[in-house]
């Protein structure tokens, strides 16, 4: 029997992988991927908790909404990365430190 706990565990694993990618990867694209993973972990949770809202399917609806938003965000994110690349000739975040004090 696959219980809610299983979903949550899988979701947590995906989130952790995404978090790791965001924090550790030396490639901005990979960070973007990590972000996507984290969003998807959240979506998975929406779907999983959707079983408590059987009347309106709020979980599923919100998951779909989030997927659409995530797609849009990825598009914007990639555009930024492209511009960053044009400007800095690199997409390694370690080399981009204009924000330093």
């Amino acid at each position: 029997m696959i219980t809610l706990t299983h979903f949550l565990v899988v979701s947590a694993c995906i989130f952790s992988i995404g978090l790791y990618a965001v924090l550790a990867k030396r490639n901005t694209i990979m960070i973007l991927v990590g972000i996507e993973l984290m969003i998807n972990a959240a979506i998975l949770n929406f779907v999983a908790f959707g079983k408590y809202d059987k009347i309106n399917y709020g979980g599923q609806v919100f998951a779909l909404f989030a997927i659409v938003l995530a797609a849009a965000a990825v598009a914007v994110g990639l555009a930024i990365i492209l511009n960053v690349y044009r400007h800095f000739k690199t997409i390694n975040p370690e080399n981009i430190h204009e924000l330093k004090d």
Binding site: L23, I31, E94, L99
Partner: protein
């Protein structure tokens, strides 16, 4: 008699003063263009003529006249300047004019060719103005002004050859010592003013008023009398303030004859005669004592001098001592008489000495020799070259020695005899005074004899030069005529027809002071005899010593040295007073620098040190607290700044950490 130009004696005496002043101003403006001395000469001739016909002849033996003009008002008192013409002032003014005139003529020849001659005439006119003004001043302050101006002119004339070191030392000394006297005079004036409220001579010593303004037996009157006498002591070179006069001989000889023999130095005696009513017994006794001491010491010093002019200078001092005694014994008429006769013969002595020095200096210049032309040891046997000078000098010397037929005989006898009468009236040790005066008279005869013998007799050291074509001749006429004129004045007829009795001279008859002591007829006989006999003995001795060259004393005799060095008085003064005051001034300056200024600097140092301490406190304590706070803030900031490393991922991680921490906080809470 008052018909001459129809002017009053007052106006005339002002004119007498003004002519030399005018001459002085003209010459001062002209500067180097006035070398002939004509202006000064015209001035003094005018003065002499007016003085004789306008002041003296109408004013003599008539009541005293005065006129005064308001000068200034100070407080409640008004001071007046004015002219006082009475017997005393008219006589004094005339004497000054009559002596100054021949000296002016003499100077034309004597000073000819000197590079600074324009200054000479200027100074001489200034002197005449001051001296003539002094004689007729009505107000004591006015008298004082002229008194110091006379000293100033004398300063200028002594230092006439200002490149000569000894001359400029001498004029400084003369002025400073006169200044001591001037202070006395000023104190006297101040005392009189403080007690009487006026300085007007006619008011102060008004004989006609029943209540005299001054009670002379009060302590302040004694003090004021002594103060006036101090003034007279300096001006009239009384012991121990006489030291300036021998040094003053550094000036031209014509100046010495006019100023330092005949007129200026007599001003002290004149002053005492003027303020005579102020003196009480004590003051008069002091005057007698100082006068006698001066006469004696100066005569002794004169014996040891080798410089012609210094001998004459000491003889002047000695004679001034006689005059002081005359004032002190109350016979100021005798003093004035001696002053007058002395003016003639002493002036003549100097002029003759000047003629000799002049020729000696010429010889020295022409033969290119190195010697002091005033030193007796170089001169001798001049009577063959300068017979007329010799004649004049002998007359003057006889007069000085008080030989019969001369004026000096009359005047000196008048003092000595009166002194004897005075002493026998008082009795006791007072007899010492006339005895000493007689001794001084004999000494006088001896030293002036020595001078004559040494200069005009014996052999002349530089005779060989004269043989080799050097001319050594009689003084020129411009010098001889004044000398002859003065020689005539040194004989008795000028002062009265009586050969022996000084009471019958016109000066004594007119001035005629009442003395309290009785006349002693026998003194009129034995004192002149004693004086003349002593003089002749002295001359015989001198003849033997100096002409026959039987000189008994060694030159290194301590007495000769003592006399030559003037009793070591100069050395004493130099060591004690001059060095002393310079030393004191140095000490005080060091005190000023190190103590007074030192205190100021110490105070400023203290303030600066205090400021250093305060600054330290401010820097380390107060500012330290501020800095501590700032540093702490900075350090915390420094710790936190590592977060801002610009790494996107680090920001994210940090945000995550905070979120996690926040969640943990929420959980734990």
């Amino acid at each position: 008699m008052n018909t001459f130009l129809h002017i009053s004696p007052i106006t005339a005496s002002i004119l007498v003063m003004l002519f030399p002043l005018l001459a002085f101003i003209i010459q001062a403006v002209l500067g180097k263009k006035s070398i002939s001395g004509n202006i000064a000469l015209i001035g003094i001739i005018a003065s002499a003529v007016i003085s004789l016909f306008g002041v003296f002849l109408p004013g003599w033996n008539s009541t005293s006249v005065l006129q005064k003009w308001e000068w200034f008002t100070i407080g409640e008192h008004t001071l007046y300047v004015g002219i006082l013409v009475n017997n005393l002032t008219a006589l004094m003014q005339l004497v000054v004019c009559i002596i100054a005139l021949p000296v002016h003529i003499y100077s034309r020849a004597y000073m000819k060719g000197d590079s600074g001659i324009h200054r000479y005439w200027m100074y001489l006119s200034l002197f005449c103005f001051a001296m003539l003004g002094l004689t007729v001043s009505l107000n004591l302050l006015q008298l004082y002004i002229f008194w110091e101006l006379v000293g100033f002119a004398s300063y200028l004339l002594i230092g006439f050859w200002f490149t000569k070191e000894t001359a400029v030392q001498a004029n400084k000394k003369a002025f400073l010592i006169n200044r001591i006297g001037d202070i006395g005079f000023l104190i006297g004036i101040a005392l009189v003013y403080a007690h009487c409220g006026t300085l007007d001579l006619s008011t102060l010593f008004d004989q006609t008023s029943s209540t005299p303004l001054i009670d002379k037996n009060t302590p302040w009157a004694t003090f004021a009398g002594l103060a006036f006498f101090l003034g007279a002591m300096a001006k009239s070179a009384q012991f121990p303030l006489h030291v300036w006069l021998p040094d003053a001989m550094e000036g031209p000889t014509s100046v010495s004859s006019l100023i330092h023999a005949a007129t200026m130095v007599a001003a002290g005696v004149f002053l005492l005669c003027t303020v005579f009513p102020l003196f009480n017994e004590t003051v008069l006794l002091v005057i007698v004592l100082i006068g006698t001491l001066t006469a004696l010491s100066a005569a002794l010093f004169a014996l040891g001098q080798y410089d012609i002019k210094k001998i004459l200078a000491f003889s002047t001092i000695s004679q001034l001592g006689f005059m002081m005694v005359g004032v002190g014994i109350g016979a100021w008429d005798a003093a004035m008489f001696h002053l007058t006769t002395h003016a003639f013969f002493k002036c003549l002595l100097f002029l003759c000495a000047g003629a000799v020095i002049h020729e000696m200096a010429h010889l020295k210049a022409k033969a290119q020799l190195e010697f002091d032309p005033q030193d007796l040891r170089h001169i001798g046997g001049l009577r063959r070259f300068m017979p007329k000078t010799f004649g004049c000098m002998v007359i003057a010397s006889l007069s000085l020695a008080g030989f019969p037929f001369t004026s000096g005989y009359l005047s000196k006898d008048s003092i000595v005899i009166t002194a004897y009468e005075w002493a026998s009236h008082l009795g006791g040790v007072y007899v010492l005074i006339p005895v000493l005066l007689i001794i001084v008279s004999i000494l006088t005869a001896f030293y002036i004899g020595r001078l004559i013998f040494k200069v005009f007799f014996g052999s002349f050291k530089y005779r060989s030069y004269i043989k080799t074509g050097m001319t050594f001749h009689e003084a020129p006429n411009a010098m001889l005529i004044p000398m002859l004129f003065l020689a005539a004045g040194s004989l008795f007829p000028l002062f009265g027809l009586s050969l022996t009795n000084y009471h019958h001279t016109w000066i004594m008859q007119a001035l005629d002071v009442d003395t309290v002591y009785p006349t002693l007829t026998q003194a009129h006989l034995f004192i002149p005899a004693l004086l003349t006999g002593g003089a002749i003995l002295g001359w015989l001795l001198g003849w033997n010593w100096y002409v026959k060259n039987k000189y008994p004393l060694s030159e290194n005799n301590s007495f000769v040295h003592f006399a030559n060095k003037q009793g070591y008085l100069n050395e004493f003064n130099d060591r004690i007073f001059v060095k002393g005051s310079i030393k004191l001034s140095r000490i005080l300056y060091a005190f000023d620098r190190h103590v007074v200024d030192g205190l100021t600097n110490l105070f400023s140092w203290f303030v600066r040190q205090l400021s250093v301490v305060v600054y330290w406190f401010d820097k380390h304590v107060i500012d330290g607290l501020v800095n501590l706070f700032a540093h702490a803030t900075y350090y915390i900031g420094h710790l936190v700044r590592h977060v801002q490393n610009g790494q996107l991922q680090a920001y994210l991680g940090f945000a995550l950490t905070i979120v996690v921490l926040g969640i943990l906080y929420l959980i734990i809470k």
